[in-house]
Symmetry: C2
Subunit: 211 residues, 2 copies
Amino acid sequence: MIFTEPRLCDISVATGMLQNADGHYRKSYRDLTGLYADSEAFDAILAQKADAIAYEVTSYTPGAKTSDIIMGVTRMEPGKVGREYFLTRGHIHANGDRPEVYHTLSGRGVMQMESPEGEVRLVEMGPQQVCYVPPYWIHRSVNIGDDDLVMFFAYPADSGQDYGIIERSGGMRVRIMDDGRGGWVAEDNPAWRNRTPDEVASILNRAEAMA
Amino acid sequence: MIFTEPRLCDISVATGMLQNADGHYRKSYRDLTGLYADSEAFDAILAQKADAIAYEVTSYTPGAKTSDIIMGVTRMEPGKVGREYFLTRGHIHANGDRPEVYHTLSGRGVMQMESPEGEVRLVEMGPQQVCYVPPYWIHRSVNIGDDDLVMFFAYPADSGQDYGIIERSGGMRVRIMDDGRGGWVAEDNPAWRNRTPDEVASILNRAEAMA
């Protein structure tokens, strides 16, 4: 029998990348159009650096089975759109019944989570803090610091990502905003609408169908 | 529906522990009796500190399913038994078809791996290096440095551990020894005997039965 070979990857905390990885994607500011509350402030950013990297992910995917683990590093630039801190698009796992582990290596962030039924959980993280994101929680990370936010992550290889779930509800329920005193505050997103019981059921059923 | 709550754990690299964990075990030197080549040197250590902690593991277990992830931190003392560097007992996952991810946070180690058929892989690791241990590889860590070896790990929640596999083959195939020049060298373990094709088949079949 041929056994899969071990893999050694180096994390460069300074560049926020996993080296000897096999996957790499970048999101530019242009790619994040429509995510932020303050469209005027966002347009000003686009005018300056539409194609600059807002965040990027390097990862290693050894297999595709439930029992395998994809690992990687995500790096996000610091900044704000108006009062709103930079964020990742966010997703729920397409196979919703899959968790994810995030280990902050540098910077300061908020792991913003929202259950299919609209419950909100906000976990602030700094270096050497690990957040377990349980199955079924929509999650995004927000950079509330002055430097790059760099996190190591691991999740089951068949998790998949559904990015549309956030768009379909008009964004996430809250936005992470500058509180004017050097910190952050969660403010309600007036465009948000909760998922219907049918939509919640379809998220749970989809996970069962993929199990 | 009640969704599992997120969990924030802190890693204390200085103490080598995961805080806000729900599992903790310690191995004393006495617990490691029989693992090292130099029994005289080992007895001298026992005479000094039989019940001191050789290594310890703190972990968080959110569930028990294939798709869930157990995470934790392992900390091992530095030192040698004669020329042989301190090591963990080592195991194969009882459900052999399960990988594990090890991220070195401080210290220097070797991830010692051995396939059921007796192939050996030795991966040296320092801070911010991550080793993906693929399914079916017996694995143990060895502290080749002068300080604690501290690693963060993650693996599927239904992996399980079979520690007996190493004892049944007379130890692992090689031993990680001081090379006398400040480094390490792998030396054959004369007591080691390879697993028979039947034993290999039973490891693979057991994994299938548990899948």
